[in-house]
Every structure is written in structure tokens, then in C-alpha cells.
């Protein structure tokens, strides 16, 4: 306990007050700049009617109507009584001046906060306003957030009095108070807390972030809004939540984090980027990838390390302004910006190891395979001399090394952020890896009072080492009977090994000594953004971007290897480059009429991309010489092309709100693209949205349970133009080498034209509700329907037309779904907190119509597009198990007689089961019934433990590779999988088995495509678990370190699944051909990482 006399106390209080205000200003500055607030609309006009009210009441009402925050020392206005006034739609500043001036008060507006202060130089409070002159006690302590970091600028007030202070940079406070009195701690963005002053010792207080994130400002379309006021379906993920999983790729980090955002990875290779699908696929042939918007413009380069926040826009009202290209949702990325003030240096590092997941999968060893094969095949026992674990030789330990250094700071007028990233991952599969370098500089400058400029520059270099030498194929199929190494420990060249038994005569270890497949790319993007305040109400902006990208690929197959042997060495080189120019010019008008707020935006955008590529390949290269000039001959004809594509867009948007209760947004977009037919290159899209904050209604009683409630609705149209060729609408003759004959140039029909080809259109409706309970539990629930029509479809044509396909706008697909997001602060007491967040999404897809009247597109495909079915529904010959009598495979055979009666029998003849009549919908689909993620975070003192699971339920995976290693004797020269628990092999008459009798040469086509290889793909995965420790600040002060954190983190450590392969994860992107298929899977890595983050 400090002791102090009253004079000192009074003096300190006064400084504290000033300090508090200063801190608040600073804090607001920081927060606002952090979240890149730009031009949030605030009402300017007020309408007031008061009888005998206090000044505080009046100010509160003005606060409510304008949306400005008011900050004042309550002692200043405490005695003010009995104000009566009536104003009608007047500028609130005039009203304030009239109110405050007679009371010897003044106000000033900084940012969005109105500060009410005493007029004149004398700001000393009168002594009689002190709570008690004879106080001897002081309450003191330290305030931290849940991560254990000290919080500065927290207002600490003595309840029931006007005594208040703010914490300093170290989060410390002290103020006069007696034991038993209650202190109120508050800070914007945190849940206020009340704690009684203890009788002795300092206080350790922890403040919890507002769970609802309702006051977070997100970028929606072309404007920014507080989440609280959104009418649309948007999920925002902070950088902290994003970066638990270690990767150099954003989509990997997004997996399981946002409802309705399905991230799925067909490969665990470090160079492979997952697929992202938002709210189901609404297209047949076009792209399902969401549009990425970086720092306010479509497209762009970024590194996840520089991400400040990610917003995912899902419904029409949100994606609206990206309208014509936002059919698959929009991912908005904002990179970090500098903050005025002290220079901040952050250094984040992690290092760790990766190992492949193996799941329920195991291949046979020599003895097992011998035992199995000798039941049907004459295998010499000498094969047991070898027991090679090819899988183990192909997959091993990899590592990850990740460093990021950033420096940020600046003055009032110029702020900067500069960052460098180095990321290196060596994959678990031999010869694979990824190295990334990234550099970013973001500069924000206030050039004049009216003109602001931002210059953003990002450069990156990526290098990938890719699978080559058929490593993965051999890992799964090579026989354990074949040796990997000769007597001297060198890898054997299988081609010339006299007794090699494996089918492909391949030893990847030999090939890997010589061969490679790699690519290298660099990209630079530069943005110049200008904002000019023309008047109070009108802002002109020009956002401009230029992007360059360059890529190189090289594949080298040495003449000493199987891959390069036939041609005496092969080298394939490819180069590509592109440049993209984009300009977006905007006018914004914002005004307030009484309780009405209106903002209008108009913009014009143009974008053009030029790209070119070329590829050359040579053969006959001396061993180890991997440059083209040593090739003695051409391998394939050189190829290359150049092309250009353009977009042009006009848009307008109006945002209107009334009294912070009712919100409306409407927008209109007109867009042109050079991709489409000359008859229909343009399309119009519109969007409407509305929301209602129930808890802001006057009739809403203060409710202790429901602290916030909002209803949202939106409807609109968006479009899709991506994923189709830039010349899809044109009737074309090819003049490439393919069109040549006998070495002479030719021109051959290539594509049927369709001058009417136009935008794919998606009509989408969304209803949502956001609730906050007990100020601790936030719930968001959305239901939506997306109906895509005029689908861009590469329609196969009757062969007699002479073409394979024509691009048409055909058919209609609907996605309906429900999304749930819950965040909850389950428990908090003292130094211990427990938070949970859960998200789940259910999506149902159905093909409604195929406009050429047909019932099915791509009949005969494993996943045809059929009216009335899920686009991902499987249609296959139906596996009917194993005949107990003789171990034959059985399938269903459907016969339709003359009168159309359908009967089902079983057959052991595959060709009878593969007819178009016999192929049937299996009732299963590659689309999951639901997906989601759940995370738990526990904090105790300086320790934080978090665990994050993602899950996928109800999808079926076509395990394509079982054709090779689960083939009932067809390929005795391939290894076999060990049958997982529950699977059995037919051995004798009467056996009820899952697997047919093995027979040399295969048992009656039993491994042909059928529902036999469909497996349940549901899984739950411990995506990340992380334990972090923040060093206590007092230890760090002497080293001038403001934060030091160490952590240990594990990715993908556990997966629960029934799937028989090593990794159940497959592409869930619906449209691409790999969707739902597991084929020679590169399994995801289990990683364990150690990290150190330092901030100076």
C-alpha cells in the first residue's frame, strides 16, 4: 500500500485524468488504424426533445443518434440538471455548442470521438469533488489480456465516483480506493469487469476480449462496416486465429475456420494448394474458386504472414459489388499497415519436423505378400530374401523452417510497414519441397489535409520441388520382394536387374539420383491508392494496381534412368509470364439527415491481363547436363501462345440506415468481359440487403440474457466468368502443331462457336440472425439458397457435328444450406479462461434443370450431372459383394423389359453390370453432409493451450488406388494392402467375405470401377494443438523486449476416420475431376514445431 497525502493525491488524479484521455485517444487511433477504418458513416443531424433532463441524458441521446463515442469526465457534468430542449433535425455540433458553451464546457471531435472538456485554462477540479480527502489507501495492480500481455489505456474507475485513471504502457494502474470498494475496468473491445479492491496486495486483473467481435470493422465490398451493422453474411478471421497451422498458404490456414468455407486438399505436398469451395458449387464447367481481393482490389499478391485479417463474403449483399465474378464468394485480405508511434519490430520464427500420416493404411511386407500370393500364384520362396519397405523409402521425415521479420511505425503523416518472410518446407515424400520468400512494404501518407496516398508493394519468389521419377506410384505398388540397394548400398536400376519382379521395373531411388521436376516463380505487385476528400461528404478515390508474374518449370529425366532412358535423356522447359493492370475509380457521397444516414458509392473499373507462355523440350542429353543447348534433338514440338483478356465494370451502391436500427443496402453492377460472345458480353447484377437490430429498439428492455440481437436478409444476383477459356465463345480453327501434318502447317476445326455465350448467373438469398447471450456467447445462424442458372457448360456434342463440345449457358443448380457459428467464453476466473468456438455448415446441392432438355450430362461418368441429383452423386455399377459359393465378384444387373419393368439380379459378368441400364446412383455423394471446425483455448497465467479440430462428415471417397493394390490377383506384380479390420477374403465355400477369391489375372474384372471402391470419407482431425508461454514482462524490460513468446505446436497429429487409405482428405471442390477421388495420395504431414516470437 502506498501512502500519500491528499494534495499529492489530487494532483495525481488530475494528471491521471489527462493521461487517461490521452491514452484513450491513442488507443482509439491504434484500434482504428489497426482495422483500417475508412469512412464509416456517422449521422450528423439530431432530433432531440427533453424535459427536465440531465446533461448526461442529452449527451447519451446524441451519442445514440450520431454513433459518435463521447468521452468526458463525469465530474464535469455531474451537477448539471434540468435541461429542457427541443431540436429538430439540426447539426449536432451546433446543438452541442449551444448546450456546452453556457456551462463553461467545450468539445472537440477527433476521429469518431467527441471529447467534452472544460473551457479555459483552469481545468483543476475543485477539492470538494474528491471522494474523500482523508483516504490513505491506494489500489494498484496490473491488467493483462488473455494472452498475458499488459493492457495499456484501460480505464479504471472507482464505482459510484468520478475517480478514474488509465493504465500505463506496462498495464499498471494505481488510484486511491479502499478495500471493499469496487473498481470498474473498461477498454474498448473488451468486456468490462468489476472487481472489489482487496484488503492488501496489488491486483492482477485479466480483461477478456469482446466475444461477439461485433465492433470489429470489416471491409465489405467497397466500404467498411462494423460487423454490428452488416446486413450480409460475412465471416472475419483475425490473423491470430488464422495462423495456428504452419503453412505458407492462406487456404491451408482457412481449413475449418469459417462456416461454409470448405477447404480440401487433394495432396499433402508442400507445393500443393488446397481447393476452396464456399457454399457449394453452382457451376458445371466454370471455376468454383472464390474471388480473392487484396487490399481493396481484385486479385493481388500477399503472404499469409502479412495478413492483418481475412473476411469471407458469402451472400449476395456482401459479394454484390464484385458481382459479376463473385459467384463463388469473396475472400478479402487486408495486409498489415504501420501505426504512428514507436517503431515496432516483430520477429516470428518456427522450426519443426513433419512425418506422413498413415491412417489405417498398411502395405504388405514380404512374408505377408508371399503368404497371400501363394494362395493363388506360384511364387518362389526365394522372394523372401528381400523385404523392402518401398513406402518407408519414399516417405520420411521432412522439416519446416519459417521466419518472418517485420518493422512498422511512422509519424502522424506517414506510416510504414515492412516485412520479409522466409519459408522452407521439405516434404515427407523424397524429392519434394517448397521454398518461399516474400517482401512487402506498405506506406500510407497524408499528403495534404485532403489527399491521402497509399503505396503497397509486394514481391515474392517461390520454388517448388515436385514429385518426379514416379516415386509415389512406386511407393504404393512396388513389390517388397525386389531389392532397393545393391551389395554396396547403391540404388539398383531395376530395368537391368535380372530378377526384378515388380510390374514397372522401376526403382525411384535410382531415378531420384538423377532426375528432378521443379518450378520457380516470382511475382511483384504494386498498388497506388489515392483518396481525396472533395467536401465533407464527397470522397474521390482511385485504386490502381499493376502485377507482374513470371514462372519457369523444368523437368529433367537423365539418360541413366528409366524415365529418360528411351530418349537418351529428356529435358522439358516451360516459361510463362503475365501482367495485369487494374484501375478502380470511385466517388463516395455520405450524408445524414436527422436519424437517416445515407452513403452512395459509384465506381468504374477496368482490368486487362496479358499473358504468354512457351514450352520447349529436348532429348539426347549427356548425363547430368540439364540445359537445352546440349540436347541433340527435339522431343516435342515447341509450343507457346500469347493472350489477353479484359473486364470492365460500372457499379453503384446505396447504403441507408435509420436510427441504428434499420439498415438497407442496394447495389447495381454492369460488367463487360471480352471472354463472352459478341451478342452477350455484358450483364447486369443487382443486390439488396436489410437488417434490423432488435436490441436497439426503444421497446427492447434491458435483457441480461440477450445482449444483442440482429436479423439480416439479402437477395441478389452475382455472376461467374472464371475457369473458362478466354476465347470460349469463338468458333475456332487451330493452327498449332496439332493441326500440322507431315511437317506442313495446317488449320483444323477446334471449337464450335457460340456468339450468345454469356455470364453464368447466380441468384442467392440469405437470412441470418446474430445473437449475443450474457455478453459471452455469440451465435450466428445463416440459411441460404443459391440458384445458379445459365451455367457455363462445356456441352459435349454429338460426334456427327464434328466437334467434341460447345460452350453454352445451360441448366440450373441449386445449393441450399445452413451455417452456424458459435463463440463462447465458457469459463473465466482469476488467471484461468476457457473459450470455445464452433462452426458448422450444411450444404445440399441439386441439379434442377439441364436446359437442352436432357436428364443427364456426361452419362457414364462416375459423377454425372443429373437432374434431381447432387452434382457429386456417384453413379456406378453396384457392387453386390462376393458369391459365398465360389468367391466370384458380384454386381447388380438391371434388366428393363419391353413394358419398362425394371428388375435387379446379380451377375458375375462385369460388362453386364456396366451397361447404362445397370449403372445406378449409389445414394452416396462426394459432397459432405456437413463440415466444420471446433477450437478450444485455455489460458492460465502466461500459458495458452489451444486445440483446433476440423471435421468432414457424410462424404464418400472413391479410393481409386485400390484398383492397384487391392485387385484380387489381377496384378501379382504389385504389392497389396493389408486388409483393414472388418474386411475379409473369400477362402472356401460358404465364406461370407468382402473380398473375392484371388485368381491370377484377376477374378472376373473385380477391380473394375464399381461401388466396391467407394468408402466413407468422414473424418475428424486434430488440425492443430498449440501450447504457448509468454515470458513475464518484468523479465523482459531490461532487454527492451515488449513481448517474448515461445510455443510448441503440432499440426494434424491425430485423425479419426474409417477410410482405408493413409489420409481421408480429398478434394471436395465438386467440379474438378479429382473431386472425391483418392488416388496415390500424398498424405498430409503431421508436424511438430517449436516457435519463438519476439517483439521489440
Amino acid at each position: 500500500m502506498h501512502k500519500s497525502d491528499s494534495r499529492r493525491c489530487a494532483y495525481r488524479r488530475q494528471t491521471l485524468l489527462r493521461y487517461m484521455i490521452k491514452m484513450k485517444i491513442m488507443l482509439i487511433c491504434i484500434i482504428t488504424s489497426l482495422v483500417s477504418v475508412r469512412a464509416t458513416t456517422y449521422a450528423q443531424k439530431v432530433t432531440l426533445k427533453f424535459e427536465q433532463a440531465t446533461l448526461r441524458d442529452v449527451l447519451d441521446e446524441i451519442q445514440k443518434q450520431t454513433g459518435y463515442d463521447f468521452l468526458y469526465n463525469s465530474t464535469l457534468i455531474a451537477k448539471e440538471q434540468a435541461i429542457s430542449l427541443t431540436v429538430n433535425d439540426r447539426d449536432f455540433k451546433e446543438v452541442l455548442t449551444e448546450l456546452l458553451h453556457p456551462r463553461n464546457l467545450r468539445f472537440e471531435i477527433k476521429r469518431n470521438t467527441v471529447f467534452v472538456r472544460k473551457r479555459g485554462p483552469d481545468v483543476n477540479p475543485a477539492p470538494d469533488r474528491l471522494p474523500a480527502a482523508n483516504h490513505q489507501q491506494t489500489a494498484h495492480g496490473i491488467i493483462r489480456n488473455t494472452q498475458g500481455q499488459p493492457l495499456s489505456g484501460v480505464t479504471v474507475g472507482l464505482k459510484g465516483t468520478s475517480v478514474a485513471t488509465a493504465t500505463d504502457e506496462g498495464g499498471r494502474f494505481s488510484l486511491p480506493a479502499e478495500a471493499g470498494q469496487t473498481l470498474v475496468f473498461s477498454l474498448l473491445g473488451y468486456v468490462p469487469q468489476e472487481i472489489a479492491v482487496p484488503s492488501s496486495d496489488g491486483m492482477e486483473v485479466q480483461l477478456f476480449e469482446e466475444m461477439s467481435d461485433l465492433d470489429e470493422v470489416v471491409v465489405v465490398g467497397y466500404s467498411t462496416r462494423k460487423v454490428r451493422y452488416l446486413s450480409s453474411s460475412v465471416t472475419t478471421i483475425s490473423s491470430e486465429k488464422l495462423k495456428d497451422v504452419t503453412s505458407n498458404d492462406l487456404s491451408t490456414m482457412l481449413q475449418g475456420k469459417a462456416p461454409g468455407v470448405v477447404v480440401s486438399s487433394p495432396s499433402g505436398a508442400p507445393s500443393s494448394a488446397p481447393r476452396v469451395l464456399i457454399r457449394g458449387a453452382g457451376t458445371i464447367s466454370a471455376s468454383t474458386s472464390p474471388l480473392v481481393v487484396v487490399d481493396g482490389n481484385i486479385g493481388g499478391n500477399y503472404n499469409p504472414a502479412d495478413i492483418e485479417s481475412v473476411s469471407i463474403l458469402k451472400d449476395a449483399a456482401a459479394t454484390g459489388l464484385y458481382g459479376s465474378r463473385a459467384a463463388n464468394g469473396v475472400i478479402i485480405i487486408n495486409t498489415k499497415r504501420g501505426e504512428a508511434g514507436k517503431t515496432k519490430v516483430e520477429f516470428n520464427n518456427s522450426f519443426g519436423f513433419g512425418n506422413p500420416t498413415t491412417g489405417n493404411f498398411r502395405l504388405m511386407n514380404s512374408q505377408e505378400l508371399y503368404d497371400f500370393q501363394t494362395t493363388f500364384y506360384d511364387r518362389d520362396p526365394s522372394v523372401l530374401q528381400n523385404n523392402t519397405d518401398w513406402w518407408g523409402l519414399a516417405f520420411g521425415q521432412g522439416y519446416v523452417n519459417n521466419h518472418n521479420l517485420s518493422i512498422s511505425g511512422g509519424s502522424e503523416n506517414v506510416q510504414y510497414y515492412a516485412s520479409g518472410v522466409f519459408y522452407r518446407e521439405e516434404g515427407t515424400l523424397a524429392g519434394t519441397g517448397h521454398t518461399g520468400y516474400n517482401f512487402r512494404t506498405n506506406l500510407d501518407a497524408k499528403l495534404t489535409d485532403r489527399l491521402k496516398a497509399s503505396v503497397l508493394i509486394n514481391g515474392n519468389v517461390n520454388k517448388n520441388q515436385l514429385e518426379n521419377s514416379r516415386t509415389m506410384y512406386d511407393a504404393y505398388t512396388n513389390l517388397p520382394f525386389d531389392p532397393a540397394f545393391d551389395g554396396e548400398g547403391n540404388p539398383i536400376d531395376a530395368r537391368f536387374h535380372p530378377n526384378w519382379l515388380g510390374r514397372e521395373k522401376e526403382n525411384f531411388l535410382h531415378s531420384l539420383l538423377y532426375n528432378y521436376s521443379k518450378d520457380r516463380s516470382w511475382a511483384i505487385s504494386g498498388d497506388l491508392n489515392l483518396d481525396y476528400t472533395l467536401t465533407d461528404k464527397i470522397t474521390l478515390s482511385s485504386y490502381n494496381r499493376t502485377q507482374f508474374a513470371n514462372g519457369q518449370t523444368a523437368q529433367f529425366f537423365d539418360r541413366n534412368t528409366k524415365q529418360g532412358g528411351a530418349n537418351g535423356g529428356e529435358l522439358r522447359n516451360g516459361t510463362s509470364s503475365s501482367n495485369r493492370l487494374l484501375t478502380s475509380n470511385r466517388v463516395r457521397y455520405a450524408d445524414t439527415f436527422g436519424e437517416h444516414d445515407l452513403a452512395i458509392l459509384a465506381a468504374a473499373e477496368a482490368e486487362t491481363t496479358t499473358s504468354d507462355w512457351s514450352a520447349t523440350s529436348g532429348k539426347g542429353l549427356p548425363s547430368g547436363r540439364d540445359v537445352m543447348s546440349v540436347a541433340t534433338d527435339v522431343l516435342l514440338s515447341p509450343s507457346g501462345a500469347r493472350e489477353q483478356v479484359g473486364f470492365r465494370k460500372y457499379l453503384a451502391q446505396a447504403d441507408y440506415s435509420y436510427n441504428n436500427r434499420y439498415f438497407f443496402v442496394a447495389s447495381f453492377v454492369n460488367e463487360f468481359s471480352s471472354k463472352f460472345g459478341k451478342n452477350n458480353p455484358m450483364a447486369n447484377f443487382y443486390q439488396l440487403g436489410a437488417s434490423w437490430i432488435l436490441t436497439n429498439e426503444p421497446f427492447w428492455q434491458e435483457n441480461r440474457i440477450l445482449s444483442f440481437a440482429k436479423l439480416r436478409g439479402s437477395y441478389g444476383t452475382v455472376g461467374n466468368a472464371d475457369g473458362i477459356s478466354n476465347f470460349a465463345a469463338l468458333g475456332l480453327y487451330s493452327i498449332t502443331q496439332d493441326a500440322s501434318y507431315s511437317g506442313l502447317p495446317g488449320a483444323a476445326p477446334y471449337q464450335k462457336g457460340n456468339p450468345n455465350l454469356s455470364w453464368e448467373k447466380i441468384r442467392s438469398a440469405n437470412l441470418g440472425v446474430d445473437l449475443t447471450l450474457w455478453n459471452r456467447v455469440g451465435i450466428s445462424l445463416d440459411i441460404y439458397e443459391k440458384k445458379a442458372s445459365e451455367l457455363l457448360y462445356r456441352q459435349p456434342l454429338v460426334a456427327t457435328t464434328g466437334y467434341s463440345y460447345v460452350w453454352v449457358n445451360a441448366g440450373s443448380v441449386r445449393n441450399r444450406g445452413l451455417e452456424l457459428n458459435v463463440t463462447s467464453q465458457n469459463f473465466k476466473a482469476g488467471n484461468f479462461t476457457w473459450e470455445t468456438s464452433l462452426n458448422m455448415a450444411f450444404n445440399r446441392n441439386q441439379v434442377l434443370e439441364l436446359s437442352d432438355g436432357s436428364a443427364i450430362f456426361n452419362p457414364g461418368a462416375r459423377q454425372p450431372i443429373a437432374v434431381g441429383y447432387d452434382m457429386d452423386a456417384y453413379n456406378l455399377p453396384i457392387w453386390a459383394g462376393v458369391d459365398p459359393a465360389n468367391g466370384d465378384p458380384l454386381w447388380e444387373k438391371v434388366t428393363i423389359d419391353e413394358s419398362g419393368n425394371r428388375s435387379i439380379a446379380t451377375t458375375n459378368v462385369y460388362s453386364e453390370a456396366a451397361t447404362s441400364d445397370s449403372r445406378q446412383f449409389t445414394g452416396t455423394s462426394a459432397a459432405p453432409k456437413f463440415t466444420g471446425g471446433i477450437s478450444n483455448t485455455l489460458t492460465y497465467q502466461n500459458f495458452t493451450l489451444s486445440a483446433f479440430f476440423n471435421f468432414v462428415y457424410g462424404n464418400y471417397v472413391y479410393n481409386d488406388t485400390r484398383v492397384y493394390f487391392d485387385n484380387d490377383g489381377l496384378y501379382e506384380a504389385f504389392n497389396s494392402m493389408v486388409l483393414p479390420k472388418g474386411w475379409t477374403r473369400w477362402e472356401k465355400e460358404g465364406d461370407k467375405a468382402t473380398h473375392p477369391k484371388p485368381i491370377v489375372g484377376g477374378n472376373k474384372d473385380s477391380n473394375q470401377s464399381s461401388s466396391r471402391y467407394l468408402e466413407e470419407g468422414s473424418y475428424i482431425r486434430l488440425r492443430n494443438v498449440r501450447l504457448g508461454y509468454n515470458f513475464p514482462e518484468k523479465w523482459l524490460q531490461s532487454a527492451r523486449i515488449s513481448r517474448l513468446q515461445v510455443f510448441i505446436s503440432g499440426d494434424n497429429l491425430w485423425t479419426g476416420t474409417k477410410f482405408s487409405g493413409p489420409d481421408p482428405e480429398v478434394s471436395l471442390s465438386q467440379v474438378d475431376l479429382a473431386s472425391g477421388v483418392s488416388s496415390f495420395k500424398y498424405p498430409v504431414s503431421k508436424k511438430v514445431l517449436f516457435g519463438l516470437n519476439v517483439t521489440f
Binding site: 526384378w500 472533395l534 464434328g802
Partner: protein, 504 residues
């Protein structure tokens, strides 16, 4: 509120300028617009090259080879493969066969490409244009002929009244082309013959054997008439080719190296589908199914340069090897290691690995070949077969013996009517045997048997025996009346065009 100052207005104007319009179309660089592709006479030549390029596609050449050759008895598949080619070999056809779908689509693409030229060039035009039109007519006929022999029953069955394939003429509207139904086998033959006659009439230039010319049309006419059992015309057009003096039978070592040399200068080839060095299809070639080895032609294990899963059948090899001196042995490379013939061990009984090299080693590239579609030897055999059927036994045997002598066989191995009588064979028997020996692996054998109402009999090791249980039963007989003598129309085509009716 906008201040009414000039300053403000200026700024607004600047913005207005920025709101520029940017509606521009771009042209591709690898493609040309179809309107520009055949706009004037100088485009006809490039468009004709384009028709050949469509023909050159693997979907036609490779898939076509599988479905034309593998149903015969010169080949043995030594191990099962998941590839659809297995079904062509084993007669386990399905209506979604990849290779049939490829072949059907690609053949009609060739026709459509040809039709564009045929429609564009009037019959009365310059010599050069008439030649080009003739080449397109030839290709159109060749496509229809191959389609009808794959998807329509042999001509002699029901006198050509069985369903054939759709006839795709020039000048049809989109709607007409999309709803074509199957013409009868006879109608297709008549269409093919009329196209070939017109083509022969129009063509007057002697291009090399990568291109069609008058004699090429005659050669195909001879084959078509033979299939149609029109012996007189078969002999007539075979004579026209043989007597044209454009072609000669290769002799001795030149004959033994028939398929390895530069193809355009081969004097025996009438028409081959030329593949350049850069069109080596490597493991996806026809040759990779038959052969694996080094660039000198020495055989190596399966998988080194090719899959080597399809071998010369034991039946064929044994028949050929009755005369080990027969030069046609050079087209077979038995896989021998240390003097020991290797067997594919994957079936019981095991299959001898007689590699076939007719599709390998062109110009020193292991998997490169330019498949020969018509060659002079076949003309002699056509004439011989027609003569045999007309009971001109001496004439028939003369042509057969000509080829046997060329193959290096001595007098003892040549046929006389007396020897036939002793052996109890007819002239047609020996002509068909000679066709088998000479034209093996060139896509003839199954048709030769079926159109002569004979069965394909395969009593030798190969995966066709897997149709039977137990697998050691080495018998398979496919009768000419079997439904599976013809392939299913691709189901996808029937789905898109309900006028098409499926084969039973």
C-alpha cells in the same frame, strides 16, 4: 455538398475521365476464327492438311488400331490390364468403351473437317483445288468405311441390310447433323464407293504416300469391293494400282526393315498416316503395347521402353515359324535372354513373349511409327482372294506365291493346285493364310475371317482364356454370327442422339 467552385468541377471532370470505358475484344494467337479459316482458295491447302492432322490424332490412330486388330488371332494379351483395350481383345465389350468412343468421335471429326473443304471447293476448279477436294473425299470415305466395319456387321451378312453407321455428308444443318440415324451397311458402302470414285476422278497429282492420290483411292476401292464381295471390281481396282507402276514390293533386307525406315520414301506403301519425330507418343503409342527394348531393336523387359503386354500369338508364331527363313519373322522380336525365350508369367499357362515391332523404331525412335493403312502387298492379296472366289485358282496362287517368294521362301514352300489338293485346302484357305502372315497386326485379320463367314479361333495362351473357368482351358471360338463381332455404338452418342439405335 459540392462547392460551386471551378476547382471542384475540374476535379469531378478528372474523375469522369477516369471512368473510361474499356470494352475491347482480343484475338487468340494459337487459333484463327472459323470465318477466316476457309475464306479463299489459298486456305484450302492448310485446311486439307488440317483434315489429315485430325486423322493423325491418337484417338483415331491408336484407339482404332486396338479395336481393329485386337479381336484377331495373331495377337495374345499376356496379362490383364485395366485399359479398355483388354475388352477389344477379350470380346468383353461395354457400351462405354473408351477406345470406341475415341474412335467414333475422331472419325466424324475427320469427316466434318473434310466436309468443310468439300463444300467450299466446287468440282469445276483448278487442278490443285480439285486434287485437294479429292483428298478430302478420300478421307471421308476411309472414315465411313472403317466405321462401318467396326460398328456394322460384315457386308455378306443379310446382304448389307444390317444397320451401319450415320452418313455425314457436307452441307447439313446443325440440327440435321445432330439427329442422324444409322444408314444400312449397304448404304454406307455405296456412299464410300461413290466418294472414292469421285475422289479418284478429281485427283491428278502424285503426292507421296502420306497423302491421298488417285491410286490411293483405287487401292481403297479394291478393298471395299472385296469386302462387298464384288470380285470383278476388286480385281479391277487392284489391277489399276498394281499396274500403275507407282509402287513396288520391297525386297530382302529392305523388306525386313519395312517399318523402321523413313516412311515417305517407302515404295510399297500406298498410304500411311505419317508421324513426325516430334509426334512420338512414347508409352502411349501403338508400339509400346507390343515392344520394349533399346534403340537398336534389342528386346528388353516389360516396362523399359514400352508396356509389352500384347504379343504375337503362339498360334501365329508357330505358323510363321514353319519357315524360319520367312523374312516376315523380322517383324517379330522374341524376347530372349541368354538364349532363353521369356514368358509372361502372369497367367497359367504362361504366354511366350513374342514382341511385335511393326509399330516401333521408325527413324531410330523406339516408339515412333507411321501406321501403314494401304500397301501394295494387300493389292496382290485382294486380287488373289477375288480370283480364288471366282475359281481362278492359278491366278490366285500366282499372287500368293509372288508374296511368298518376296518373303524369301523357296520353291518347296510355294503353292501349286496339287499341293492344295494334298493338303485338303482351297485356294481361299491359302489366300487367307497368306493375308494373315503378310498383313498381321495391320488390322485385317478379324474382318478377313468374319466377312468370309469363318470363326476366330484362339486356342493359345492369353487373357481371352480368362473368360473361361478354369483358366487353363485354352479354347475360344468367336463365330461370325456372334453379337460381339461388332462393337457397341458409344452410349454417350446414343444419349445425345436418340435416332441412333444400339447394336444387340
Amino acid at each position: 455538398m459540392i462547392r460551386p467552385s471551378i476547382y471542384g468541377k475540374l476535379k469531378l471532370m478528372t474523375v469522369a475521365v477516369l471512368f473510361f470505358s474499356c470494352q475491347k475484344y482480343y484475338d487468340p494467337t494459337e487459333f484463327i476464327n472459323e470465318e477466316d479459316a476457309l475464306a479463299n482458295e489459298s486456305d484450302v491447302e492448310t485446311a486439307t492438311i488440317g483434315t489429315y492432322a485430325v486423322l493423325k490424332n491418337a484417338a483415331y490412330v491408336r484407339s482404332g488400331h486396338f479395336i481393329m486388330e485386337y479381336p484377331g488371332d495373331a495377337v495374345a494379351q499376356g496379362q490383364s490390364s485395366a485399359d479398355d483395350l483388354t475388352r477389344a481383345y477379350r470380346y468383353t465389350h461395354i457400351n462405354t468403351s473408351d477406345h470406341c468412343t475415341n474412335f467414333w468421335s475422331q472419325a466424324y471429326k475427320v469427316v466434318a473437317a473434310a466436309n468443310n473443304v468439300i463444300e467450299f471447293v466446287p468440282n469445276e476448279s483448278s487442278e490443285g483445288l480439285r486434287q485437294l477436294k479429292g483428298e478430302n473425299l478420300f478421307l471421308r470415305a476411309m472414315m465411313h468405311f472403317n466405321l462401318v466395319r467396326i460398328f456394322g456387321r460384315p457386308y455378306p451378312q443379310n446382304s448389307g441390310e444390317n444397320p451401319g453407321v450415320p452418313i455425314l455428308k457436307e452441307g447439313l444443318s446443325d440440327e440435321e447433323a445432330e439427329t442422324l440415324s444409322r444408314s444400312s451397311v449397304k448404304e454406307v458402302y455405296d456412299f464410300v464407293i461413290s466418294d472414292l470414285l469421285q475422289a479418284a476422278e478429281l485427283m491428278s497429282q502424285s503426292k507421296n504416300n502420306s497423302f491421298a492420290s488417285k491410286e490411293v483411292a483405287y487401292a481403297l476401292l479394291a478393298r471395299v469391293y472385296l469386302y462387298k464381295e464384288d470380285q470383278e471390281n476388286a480385281i479391277k481396282y487392284a489391277d489399276l494400282v498394281i499396274n500403275s507402276d507407282r509402287y513396288a514390293l520391297l525386297q530382302g533386307s529392305e523388306y525386313a526393315g519395312y517399318f523402321r525406315a523413313q516412311p515417305d520414301n517407302n515404295r510399297e506403301t500406298i498410304f500411311a498416316i505419317r508421324h513426325m519425330k516430334v509426334e512420338d507418343r512414347a508409352m502411349s503409342s501403338i508400339g509400346s503395347m507390343y515392344f520394349s527394348g533399346d534403340v537398336s531393336g534389342n528386346p528388353l523387359g516389360q516396362g523399359v521402353s514400352g508396356w509389352a503386354e500384347i504379343y504375337a500369338s503362339k498360334k501365329y508364331y508357330d505358323f510363321l515359324n514353319q519357315h524360319p527363313e520367312d523374312l516376315r519373322n523380322s517383324f517379330i522380336t522374341p524376347y530372349v535372354v541368354n538364349g532363353e525365350l521369356q514368358y509372361n508369367q502372369k497367367l497359367t499357362p504362361v504366354t511366350p513373349m513374342y514382341y511385335v515391332n511393326k509399330y516401333s523404331l521408325q527413324e531410330g525412335l523406339i516408339n515412333l511409327s507411321s501406321p501403314v493403312y494401304l500397301r501394295l502387298a494387300e493389292m496382290y492379296l485382294i486380287r488373289a482372294e477375288a480370283n480364288a472366289k471366282e475359281n481362278n485358282v492359278d491366278a490366285a496362287l500366282a499372287d500368293v506365291n509372288l508374296l511368298r517368294k518376296r518373303a524369301g521362301l523357296s520353291e518347296d514352300a510355294l503353292y501349286t493346285p496339287e499341293k492344295l489338293a494334298t493338303a485338303g485346302k482351297t485356294a481361299l484357305d491359302v489366300v487367307l493364310e497368306e493375308r494373315w502372315l503378310e498383313l498381321a497386326f495391320e488390322g485385317h485379320r478379324a474382318y478377313d475371317l468374319f466377312r468370309n463367314n469363318r470363326s476366330v479361333v484362339r486356342d493359345y495362351p492369353g487373357t481371352h482364356s480368362l473368360n473361361n473357368t478354369p483358366t487353363t482351358d485354352l479354347h475360344q471360338e468367336v463365330k461370325p454370327t456372334d453379337n460381339r463381332v461388332v462393337f457397341y455404338i458409344p452410349q454417350a452418342e446414343i444419349n445425345r442422339n436418340s435416332a441412333l439405335k444400339q447394336n444387340p
